[in-house]
Symmetry: C2
Subunit: 405 residues, 2 copies
């Protein structure tokens, strides 16, 4: 029901903005590149006859009228921001597949009962500004608007100021009404590809706990300070990185444990590090297991700090529990995939998505497509055009079934 080549062309066009050397994209949230990507999206939506509004946290909603336009919209969407060395599909695919659904509805002159909208959520990645999923988090009341506007980036910029600077500090209130929410996304892992499945029916997302750890030792000279007298914050922190890895490896099921940022102070070749800051990201589909990972992680950090004679502070940074999606809507996605004869399997999302927050407010489902070698958050991230077209087709069918004729 959709135009695969048109979708593919739009993906390629968007990927030119912030294109990186190795074929990826860098459009950090509310950077100049993110603004350019948003502007392109808005121009496409207007050309498709949509009315575009922007809310106070910078989320964009492109609306196609419904037969009863007083009904709440069925919203499809994802995000346009990327990781520093991000790919061309993470987030973008969900946004442009949704736009393709709108364009196809236009081509066929199909009216829907509910209005429909394509959403671009602000700062899903959580890289430049952290935590992730800020735009959807504000709309669903997980965060207050004020706390998010005051977030400061790694580069020192304030989020509220960057919204104004890029022209996306909108006027619309953040309590946006929605009838249901659908998000198409690349899997970002290897499961569908390994099993040769064309569509992932996402039943929910695994839980996440993010932390910040600060290790405090004693700065001293790397030459005349005997090894046994040192309190080297980096030696201790590196043992903690190993321990985080073990928490991931030694947990049953699909556990993940990652240290993504680690900063050394004072950052001089001949100074024993006096302070190390690092981030930890623990994930598991089961709440009790995630709680157990949390306990083991904390115990390991405390034991290593003790053993090395350093201080270690763990701050809770962000978390969400394992989140199931709406059973009837998930069933509808499965029926759409089956209807097309696409091979599929149920799958739990390893990543957080705006859908996770939206699921707390309105019925929500997600559609996964395979990505090459399961690689994401990497410039080489890739998909097969046919997989993209299949995902958009399933989105089309589910949307029409949900919005009504």
């Amino acid at each position: 029901p959709i135009d695969g080549p048109r979708l593919w062309d739009s993906l390629a066009e968007m990927a030119k903005i912030g294109a990186t050397a190795k074929g990826g994209s860098c459009r950090l949230a509310l950077s100049d590149e993110d603004k350019a990507g948003r502007d392109l999206f808005v121009s496409w939506c207007e050309a498709a006859g949509c009315t575009v509004t922007v809310d106070r946290i910078g989320n964009i909603f492109a609306r196609r009228r419904g037969r009863d336009d007083s009904l709440p919209p069925v919203v499809m969407g994802s995000h346009l921001d990327t990781q520093p060395t991000g790919g061309r599909f993470d987030g973008v695919f969900g946004v442009l597949a949704a736009l393709e659904v709108v364009r196809s509805l236009n081509d066929r002159g199909v009216e829907t009962l509910h209005p429909i909208e394509v959403a671009v959520w602000t700062n899903e990645e959580g890289s430049r500004f952290s935590p992730p999923m800020m735009g959807s988090g504000v709309v669903t009341g997980v965060f207050t608007l004020e706390e998010i506007l005051d977030k400061v980036a790694q580069d020192g910029a304030r989020l509220g100021d960057e919204l104004v600077r890029t022209g996306y500090a909108g006027e619309a209130p953040v309590d946006h009404p929605m009838h249901a929410y659908l998000e198409a996304h690349i899997e970002q892992g290897p499961v569908l590809e390994v099993e040769g499945k064309e569509i992932g029916i996402v039943t929910g997302a695994q839980g996440q706990r993010w932390y910040e750890v600060t290790v405090t030792g004693v700065e001293a000279h790397a030459g005349p300070t005997p090894m046994r007298l040192r309190r080297d914050a980096l030696v201790a922190a590196s043992a903690m990185v190993q321990a985080v890895q073990r928490v991931g490896l030694e947990t049953a099921g699909d556990a993940c444990a990652t240290v993504g940022i680690l900063d050394v102070h004072p950052h001089s070749r001949n100074v024993i590090p006096g302070r190390v800051f690092f981030t930890v990201d623990l994930r598991h589909p089961d709440a009790d297991t995630l709680a157990d990972m949390d306990r083991r992680f904390r115990a390991a950090v405390a034991a290593i700090a003790e053993q090395h004679g350093v201080g270690a502070e763990i701050a809770d940074f962000w978390h969400f529990p394992p989140t199931p999606f709406a059973r009837p809507l998930v069933d509808r996605v499965r029926e759409a995939a089956s209807g097309f004869g696409f091979s599929h399997r149920d799958i739990v999302s390893g990543a957080g998505h705006d859908a996770v927050y939206v699921a707390g407010k309105v019925p929500t489902a997600m559609i996964f497509i395979p990505c090459e070698d399961g690689i994401s958050h990497n410039e080489v991230e890739n998909i097969a055009p046919a997989d993209g077209a299949r995902g958009a087709a399933v989105l089309f069918e589910t949307l029409v079934a949900t919005a009504g004729r």
Copy 2:
């Protein structure tokens, strides 16, 4: 023979430039603060009747005429640059003790046969610009002037440009003639304090090997990427940090092994690190043992890389062999200490100093004084005023004995 309170006042005055919150100093090489420290030093030397010249690498030489001014000078000195979170005495003590010797010679109307000079060497610390000991290295032919002028700082500045900007791109040629070289310095380690000795008779410096290691894994998403499929550059690098630590701990004698800098790429909370860069600093007083540490370090890095399925490149960054000082001059320092009745012991320097490079060219010796808790390269670095005065007195006696009356 010297004026202890005057020396202490000058140390306090200099420490005001680039003073840090915790009582230390930050005068990174060729920064605005380093320039201000140099300017203050030059004004003091001129007030003491010295003639000041600056060479093409920015070394400052303040000269007091000798009875036979055609003879090569006996040079005393050290450096005024500091670590990012440096102390008030590392380097500065050697420079201002030398200035105090000149002032005391003036007070007493003592003439010396050889002219004498106080040297401030450019960028001894090797923190902002690396490697260390650049000014003395250029003067002694270890480095070419051109290669050093082209060094680029962590902050992107070119050394030659910073010399011009700060007004220390001098005209004097870099092959400065010297009769002998004397450097007073804080020990920067705990030995003298623990043994209750007032003066360290430095017989030489341990050898150093510095490296840069780049670990290359595969960036991927911290959520949907199973632990067993990851090639996490930081997990591998943290095992390497542990291995460097073991090389230090498991070597007989006073071995040191330190990772001072470690940078993670792409530096995002939810991205498995694809690349890690870190620096390694290995030290030992014995050349064969240092060579053995080098072998064990390389083998450990290779084995860990193999085990984690990541790449690891080791680049040699800088090194110098264990360096003995000139026996007769060292004996003269010992005689001076004994003459004053100061308790003393022979000691090998754990740190590199400008004296190490100068020792390759002219007879060289160093005088150590204790520092509090053996702590250096730390804002809390401290000395007792009486220890400073003792060190300056030994420097005075050794200088006069070497420069002749």
